[in-house]
């Protein structure tokens, strides 16, 4: 195969992997602290992207047209508002159902995802049509033979990497991270040690949702198109990635995200019959992996308490 095309596939695959990993990190964080799945995560991402898009429109309308300032504004508003939304969801939908069966939490958040999706479709101006997301990053490109590397791809990849590293540092190196890990390990002991359980849960949900918003903006900047349904598939893929990697483990989420993107890319490149089957291939492999390692590649270290 042509080297340039192969390089394109690699860059594209890495970009997808980065986005999936960012979404999966959220799932894994929520599961860590509360043992719940918040299925509206993908739609929170979508709302975050629309919030960023509105910010861009607003800033253009009041005459700020420096792309860098716009980018900062889009990121700040999008991440900030989604962090608040995530905490609100945790406070009013997830925490009240803490003692209910896990299926109920799953369904309630699934339904919330539908509410968010439909709300954007119906109430955002012309929300049912795809929107053109502006290219706010410099688009210079370097050519290496037949392979073209665009600077915005590089910036996005580096940005995504920084966020993942940052979240990892936050979890492993700070007092807040220590508290989150303590709550994840044993809620009651953590409470006894003077950790404000509710506050930590809300902060974790804010953190995860903010990361998702970043992934959404990243998605918008890369594809230059956003629509109200973009969150559903990203959410399901992020969830699968978190599961395949092993819930509750941040490295598992990253591994799962890149694995899924790798499978999709491999499906597109290597399947001889039709590259249209790449998603079928990726999901089939996911099912096979779960059958092989029922609690993910990096397994949860638990034993059953009777």
């Amino acid at each position: 195969m042509d080297v340039g095309l192969l390089g394109q596939f690699v860059v594209n695959g890495m970009m997808l992997g980065m986005m999936y990993a960012l979404v999966a990190v959220g799932f894994t964080l929520f599961f860590g602290v509360l043992d719940v799945i918040k299925f509206s995560h993908g739609d929170v991402l979508m709302v975050g992207t629309f919030a960023g898009f509105s910010t861009y429109l607003g800033m253009t309308a009041i005459g700020i047209d420096n792309a860098f300032i716009q980018l900062i504004g889009v990121l700040v508003i999008s991440i900030g508002s989604m962090a608040i939304l995530g905490a609100v969801i945790a406070r009013y939908l997830v925490l009240p159902l803490k003692s209910a069966p896990p299926l109920n939490t799953l369904l309630v958040t699934l339904m919330l995802g539908t509410v968010l999706r439909e709300a954007i479709r119906l109430f955002y101006p012309d929300g049912s049509n795809p929107k053109h997301f502006p290219a706010l990053l410099p688009t210079d490109s370097w050519s290496l033979g037949s392979f073209t590397l665009r600077s915005d791809s590089v910036i996005l990849l580096v940005g995504g990497l920084l966020v993942i590293v940052g979240v990892n540092m936050l979890i492993n190196r700070t007092r807040l991270g220590l508290a989150i890990r303590a709550v994840a390990q044993d809620e009651e002991t953590a409470k006894c040690m003077g950790i404000n359980f509710k506050m930590i849960v809300l902060l974790t949900f804010a953190l995860g949702s903010g990361v998702a918003a970043f992934a959404g903006v990243m998605n918008g900047l890369y594809y230059n198109e956003i629509n109200f349904g973009m969150g559903l598939l990203l959410g399901v893929i992020g969830f699968s990635a978190a599961i395949v990697g092993g819930l509750g483990n941040i490295y598992g989420a990253i591994l799962g995200g890149f694995l899924f993107a790798g499978l999709q890319t491999l499906g597109a490149v290597a399947l001889p019959f039709a590259s249209a089957y790449k998603d079928v291939f990726a999901f089939a492999v996911v099912i096979a992996i779960i059958a092989w390692r029922p609690t993910g590649l990096i397994a949860e270290k638990t034993s059953e308490r009777v």
Binding site: F31, I37, L93, P96, L97, A100, P102, L103, N104, L106, L107, V108, L110, M111, L112, T114, V115, E118, A119, L122, L232, L233, V236, F239, S240, I243, L247, A274, A276, Y277, D279, V280, F283, A284, V286, I287, A288, I290, A291, P294, T295, G296, E304, V306
Partner: protein, 383 residues
Amino acid sequence: MTQSLKDKLVIILLAAVIAAFSITFIAIEEQVEIFALLVFAAALVLGGAKLGITASIAQSLARNERLMNFAFIAATIAVVFWFREDHFPLLMIATVLLYVIACCGLNIQFGFTGVVNFAGAAFFGVGCYTAAVLGDTSVPLLLVILLGGIIAAIVGSVLIIPVLRTRGHYAAVVTIAFGLLFRTFLEVNDTLGGPQGLGVSGMNLFGWDFNNNIEISENLEISFYMNYVVLALIMVVLTFVLMRRIERSWIGLNFDAVRLDETAAACFGINIKRWKIVAFTLGNFLAGTAGALYAMMLGFIAPSNFAFSDSLILVSIVLLGGMGSLWGTILAAGLVVLLPEKLQVIQEYRFLIYAVVMILILLFRPQGILPRGLRAYIPGWRG
């Protein structure tokens, strides 16, 4: 008046009221009237609950289960007969009935055994596509319905190993991934029509063509949907009997044990894997049979009918009615299918409102509208 006579009167009256309500609800078109009727019904139910009437009706029903079943079948027949000449109401009724069958399948999985399945629409879809592919061959069409179920069960058996090995969220992702895989597969597969879908030939039973109107006389021509309604009603009754038998037998007891505590059940020598396989396969079989008849009735199917959101609708019917509760499932299927069709005003907003209602139910009445009661052991019960 003796107690048993009073019970019987109550049941017949209740069935008559339900039939009258359904007929009015399906027949009226004016949005204001529909809203008024809904508010009236809600007030009636809430008021009844406050005054304790609901509880005493429930007792009467529980004492005369047999009569209750027949009374409700009679009520359904009355409703169907009322709309004998109208295509659309009959189509809606048949859809409700087929959803009831598919949701009964999910009930065996979710409600009885606790096996999660978020790919209900996919197994329904396997049944649909079976009907589409086999409809043109010489296979008898009644057999095609059965085959729809069998093939759905066979397709489901691919998932048995991952479903058995996983629990909770991990099992959920297996079925969600399968549902997405199924739909993507249909969309890119050209032999199965791709995104445009396939036409399905209608039901034909021993030369009796289901897609022709039935002409009784000059001025009485019964809608051809009546054929499908009757067949679907027969299937619902069979499914209902099957479900009740399973629920009350040692099989149902094993299912319940597996759901409530796997470890304890295993300690008592119950083979968990066996019962999970039985429940998963049987549930998919029921969804597949419903799908096959649904495809024949609509005459056309496309991948967009079997999206993840359709699986969610099936799951929410089960949850709304109350896990494992058969009457609850029937009531919930009626509400979920009919409400959006009737409330044209909310047509655009129906998914939004529907999701909000589901959230409220999960928050404030997580056990569903008609929760399944405790196991009742009735000496001498014959069904």
